[in-house]
């Protein structure tokens, strides 16, 4: 698959229409639609903030813990939204795939773009919150998008893999639900990497999500955030998670291309 195919005008228009109609449908019945969609994550943030700064004092391990927590939750929200909507992309668009020959990867791609647009809005709130909590501005923030791109590559790869698997095995939604639940605690969203014993922290750090979350936070909030690279004491702390993403991507592309020919018949 040549990357240039995605940028053909007809395919670009298709992505654009799929994404915009998705947004129109999601937020059409209220002007405040987007703000309603924020209610759940913000409420979760409020609860966690109170629990981890007032009850269990995990938050004292790192400066600007509220911003650290909010950024973690926003990154996490993107991850679950992108992978869940990506997984449902093919089965949810069965009507299209059975009746018209359109590139299947575009359907999956459009769900991730939708999630990315939402993520961009949510990041505005993070920025506002950072200003309000006096997080000092540092130029390193400009490097953060590099790791966001890494995150997008990961969610795309997982979306392609999951969407194809979901066509064949309809219980994958349950499996992925469980995986997400485990990941929520296996990734330092609420806590910092200094909290668990070092060997546990190192296991946690093999997870690409841990590496991405910690790197983005270190660049955006405070250099005191313990990154996986610092934990391993070498670039290995970045190379291993990135290698995992490469492996997932290769498997995902191989499996999606192999099975996408038969989507129309299996749906």
């Amino acid at each position: 698959m040549k990357l240039s195919i995605i940028f053909r005008p007809a395919n670009r228009s298709l992505i654009r229409e799929l994404v915009t109609s998705d947004f129109k449908l999601r937020y059409q019945n209220s002007i405040l639609g987007y703000f309603w969609s924020l209610l759940r994550p913000l409420f979760l943030f409020g609860v966690l903030y109170v629990v981890f700064t007032k009850v269990i004092r995990v938050g004292e391990a790192v400066p600007y813990y509220p911003a650290y927590l909010l950024l973690g939750l926003v990154l996490w929200t993107f991850f679950i939204e992108a992978t869940l909507s990506g997984m449902n992309a093919i089965t949810g668009r069965g009507d299209l795939i059975r009746k018209v020959s359109i590139p299947k990867y575009i359907i999956v791609l459009s769900t991730n773009i939708s999630a990315l647009v939402n993520f961009t809005f949510n990041m505005m709130i993070v920025f506002i919150f950072m200003i309000l909590s006096d997080v000092p501005f540092r130029w390193t923030i400009l490097a953060a998008p590099l790791f966001i791109i890494e995150l997008v590559v990961l969610t795309l790869a997982l979306s392609y893999l999951l969407s194809a698997l979901f066509v064949k095995f309809r219980d994958f939604s349950h499996i992925w639900d469980v995986v997400l639940q485990v990941l929520f605690y296996a990734v330092p969203i609420l806590y910092t990497l200094t909290f668990p014993p070092k060997w546990i922290a190192q296991i946690i750090s093999i997870n690409p999500l841990t590496q991405i979350f910690q790197d983005v936070r270190a660049l955006m909030i405070t250099p005191e955030v313990l990154t996986t690279q610092e934990l391993f004491g070498s670039q290995l702390g970045r190379i291993i998670p990135m290698l995992i993403i490469v492996i997932i991507s290769v498997v995902a592309v191989w499996y999606f291309r192999r099975s996408s020919h038969n989507f129309a018949e299996e749906l």
Binding site: K24, K99, D171
Partner: protein, 383 residues
């Protein structure tokens, strides 16, 4: 231009087989728990399909339901993959087989135009340029900012068709879109087909309607049980299709020959001499009540009764009886006809029983100059 350029679509050695598992495993759990070898049934839907469509041809594909024509269309348009064989498409192909794909009732008409246009392969700029034309053709100017769920089904079809004809590709696939919409809109669609034909576009047209085959198609093919029965001129196609229908309906009749009930009537074709154009059919009845009865029959074409006759004067009170009638089919135009019969009480002229199954017959041949049921003689006098 050499021969290569003249071919628009080349289908060679095409086979399609569906692999149907006896028990479908839809979950990972089932895969892990039932690891014995699954058994499959193979459904050979298309067998060795070969044909070529020339550039600028209006090509018809006809066949009964289940003959494999939808599968063929889906393979041509790239939705299904062939099991064996190849489909070569020379140029771009409108990839849709149905109208209004992706229409969302919660979006406005305008939003649906852009969404559906993109699915049909139009860029946003192209849709924008053709937007007014689409709206005008669909005659929906006033409704474009309303949600699609407030449209009538006729309005939705009009909008869908108007977008589809804008998807200007070298090859158009059209699948029985004519069965929808009111008469006025259908006429507009036919006009569009005439236009498309004049523009020299290649069209592949799937239909049941032999009149449109005659009217538009240059050539066509007939599918029967996944095989090509014939590739030929529209008249050959129409005749072959009628023959398939005739054999199929006589098979159906054999299946339903049940015993007569207490009070019952049945009609069946005894013999159809096509050379002499004489159709002999029989009406059998049972009359347990022993009241005086007679029978009657109607000949129906396209749901309209075109002739009725009863046997008043030959009524009797026998417990059962059989009557035959010989119909001269030269009185009828080519087409598909049905015979219904009834058993009628002589005293009160009340219908006691009507046939549950109708007898069916086909008058073969095709004649451009004749329509409807009655075969009018060519008595023109040019003055």
């Amino acid at each position: 231009m050499n021969d290569q350029d003249q071919t628009s679509l080349l289908v060679s050695n095409l086979h399609k087989e569906f692999k149907l598992p006896h028990e479908r495993k839809n979950t990972l759990k089932e895969w892990i728990l039932h690891f014995h070898h699954p058994t499959y049934e193979y459904l050979h839907v298309l067998k060795d399909i070969n044909f070529e469509v020339k550039k600028g041809e209006f090509f018809g594909i006809v066949g009964r339901n289940g003959s494999g024509k939808s599968t063929l269309l889906k393979i041509i348009s790239g939705i299904y993959q062939p099991t064996h064989g190849t489909v070569e498409v020379n140029g771009t192909l409108t990839p849709f087989i149905e109208l209004g794909i992706g229409f969302n009732p919660e979006l406005t008409g305008r939003e649906n135009v852009f969404l559906n246009g993109a699915i049909m392969g139009l860029t946003r700029r192209e849709t924008l340029a053709k937007y007014q034309e689409i709206v005008n053709f669909a005659e929906l100017e006033k409704f474009m900012d309303q949600k699609l769920k407030n449209y009538s089904s006729g309005m939705q079809v009009r909008l869908a068709f108007s977008i589809a004809i804008q998807a200007h590709n070298d090859i158009l696939l059209i699948d029985e879109v004519l069965a929808v919409g009111d008469a006025n809109f259908q006429r507009k669609c036919f006009d569009i087909f005439e236009d498309i034909k004049e523009q020299g576009k290649t069209v592949i047209f799937v239909t049941h309607d032999m009149h449109s085959v005659q009217r538009f198609c240059d050539r066509g093919l007939v599918l029967e049980n996944g095989n090509i029965k014939l590739v030929g001129t529209p008249t050959e196609v129409a005749n072959a299709y009628q023959e398939i229908n005739l054999t199929a309906s006589s098979k159906e009749e054999k299946k339903v020959s049940k015993r007569l009930q207490k009070t019952d009537v049945r009609v069946k074709i005894v013999e159809y001499n096509k050379k002499a154009q004489k159709l002999r059919f029989e009406i059998a009845y049972k009359n347990q009540d022993r009241k005086k009865v007679y029978v009657g029959f109607s000949i129906v074409k396209d749901g309209t009764t075109i002739g009725e006759l009863n046997s008043v004067g030959k009524e009797n009170s026998n417990p059962s009886g059989r009557l035959e009638y010989i119909l001269d089919t030269t009185q009828l135009n080519p087409g598909y006809y049905e015979i219904a019969a009834g058993l009628i009480g002589f005293e009160n002229r009340q219908l006691l029983k009507a046939t549950e199954e109708w007898a069916k017959f086909n008058v073969l041949g095709y004649d451009e100059s004749r329509g409807a049921a009655m075969n009018l003689p060519d008595n023109w006098i040019v003055k």
